[in-house]
Amino acid sequence: MPQGIRFKDIRHIIHAAILIVVVMVGFLVARALTVPKSFGQYGHYRGDSIHENQDLSVILENPETCRECHESELKRKPDEPAIWPGLDAWRKGKHGSLTCANCHGNLKEHVERRRKDPTSETFVVTKDNRPQLCLLCHHAIVARPKVLPIFDPLREEHASYLEVLKEEQEEVIGCNTCHPSYRPHDPKLSE
């Protein structure tokens, strides 16, 4: 500026500058107060988030959990063959690649309750026995790979299910009367 600048001329600028500085300091303070401590611990994100994600509860049980109590076969009556053959025998069976949750629903509750109270008479395990469940996997629909054993409704023994396929009918014999859930490959008829 050619003629000397007097303080009077720039007083308003100083005031404005102070205002700007106040806003900026306010911003920095707010930032320091709100940004989580763990932010940037591993990268540009909240480090705690990793641990929060890790700590979510597991719901679907691994069959290995069942080993704790169902390792061996469960004989209800001494003269009849056990329904549950034991974990290792089940693994070797044709349904060994399935998971308990396919047919027994959510087992978390069962495991937790049984750990506390092994002898209680009240059961909370669903034992899905409806033909619809088996057909979930065995119904002959388009795109099923050839390796999968397909339920053939035209087979004599399967005749009673023709109705089931057409409409949702609940009152039918379960498939496990002939194909035990854990040994589906030996229909009881042939036994």
């Binding site: 003629q3 001329d9 308003h12 600028i13 005031h15 205002l19 911003f27 707010a30 930032r31």
Partner: protein, 386 residues
């Protein structure tokens, strides 16, 4: 959610709805209106003098509300400041946050410096609440010395100078938010910022022309013919540039080997045919170009010329809005599967509905009206001209 056609991925929805159309619209207008005030403040384009301060206030009104639709759209608006506190450098949206803040600051400063003489005058002349209000606005300095006025002029020039690149970057970054998303074929172009900038300037000039005409009508004053003509010329220039860049984008995508784009474009045409071809292209671009050419090249009365200019300006604003609509919502119609599409049925009420967005879009106009009451932008100039 809307209807589906064909096969779409299960989680695909139109996640960005009307607020995300309104948000770039307001930003574009805010950066577009800067252009007029810059021409005056920086390049001393005398023809634009009558609208320059008005444009400045409009810019302020629009930029103040530009982020509101974003806030409405957010799932957690209370965390909005995270974008400033922990910005991720590679995200166009985070950068936008900072540039937006900077631009808002510049506009506020510029308004303050430009209107300071008036503020001081009001603070001295008025009484009671009004006096207190203006006194706060003076920031405690209730005189304008000749030396200060000279310095202020320099500062205004400096700010106007800074504002040009900031405004370009601001509207450019809105474009980049879309342009960097390769997953959405209609958006993905790194030069999207250019389209946004040019459309923004065109839309901004258009809106100012309309608002100027309305304001003058309200006051019963005549439009400044030279100013209208000058604005019309700029409008035409930017409209043509927008068209050119859009056309380049079309050529590049249409004749490139890009099945995604082809599919998305087909979907846009079939779903949004009216708003794309009817409104955006014909009514929003061809019509104003013809009108503007006519009013610039043909001899006619000032009244008719102004009427034509205002009509084409309205159409240009429509163009800007439909361009954003077709880009933002139209871009999401095509599914990533290339086997189906979503259909968009805007809801009326609700957070992302038409009503809320309409209210947000009107807010800047209301603010502008209030601002022109607080800081009358044209009074003196018209008196001087008359």
């Amino acid at each position: 959610m809307g209807q589906l056609f064909g096969f779409v991925f299960p989680d695909e929805r139109i996640y960005w709805q009307i607020p995300i159309v309104v948000y770039p619209f307001l930003t574009c207008i805010a950066t577009g209106t800067f252009f007029l005030s810059t021409l005056d403040h920086l390049f001393k384009n005398k023809a634009l003098k009558p609208v320059s301060n008005f444009a400045l206030l409009a810019s302020m009104a629009f930029v103040s509300f530009a982020s509101l639709p974003l806030l409405v759209h957010l799932g957690h608006p209370e965390r909005a400041f995270n974008i400033m506190f922990t910005p991720s450098i590679r995200s166009a949206m985070a950068t936008f946050g900072y540039i937006y803040g900077f631009y808002l600051g510049l506009v506020l400063l510029e308004v303050w410096f430009v209107f300071r003489p008036q503020i001081v005058e009001f603070a001295l002349a008025s009484k009671g609440v009004k006096r207190a209000f203006y006194s706060i606005l003076t920031l405690g300095v209730r005189e304008v010395t000749p030396g200060a006025s000279r310095i202020d002029h320099g500062i205004i020039k400096l700010i106007a100078f800074l504002r040009v690149p900031t405004a370009c970057v601001l509207s450019g970054y809105v474009g980049l938010i879309f342009g960097t998303l390769d997953a959405v074929p209609l958006w993905s172009w790194r030069l999207m910022p250019l389209i946004f900038l040019l459309s923004a300037v065109a839309g901004g000039i258009g809106l100012i022309t309309v608002l100027y005409a309305v304001a003058m009508k309200g006051k019963g004053w005549k439009l400044d013919a030279r100013c209208v003509r000058s604005m019309a010329a700029y409008l035409l220039a930017f409209l043509l540039l927008t068209g050119l860049v859009q056309f380049i984008n079309f050529l590049r995508s249409n004749y490139g080997d890009n099945p995604d784009w082809q599919f998305a474009f087909q979907t846009l045409k079939s779903e949004f045919g009216f708003s794309f071809i009817g409104l955006q292209l014909i009514a929003g671009w061809v019509a104003p170009v013809v009108l503007l050419l006519a009013l610039l090249l043909m001899k006619m009365k000032d009244g008719l010329r102004s009427a034509l200019a205002v009509t084409s300006s309205i159409l240009v604003v429509v163009h800007l809005f439909t361009f954003l609509w077709n880009l933002v919502i139209g871009g999401q119609l095509a599914s990533r599967t290339l086997r189906g599409s979503l259909s968009f049925q805007p809801e009326l009420l609700g957070k992302e509905g038409i009503l809320v967005s309409a209210v947000i879009a009107i807010c800047p106009l209301v603010l502008l009206f209030i601002l022109t009451k607080i800081l009358p932008p044209y009074q003196k100039k018209v008196e001087a001209a008359g």
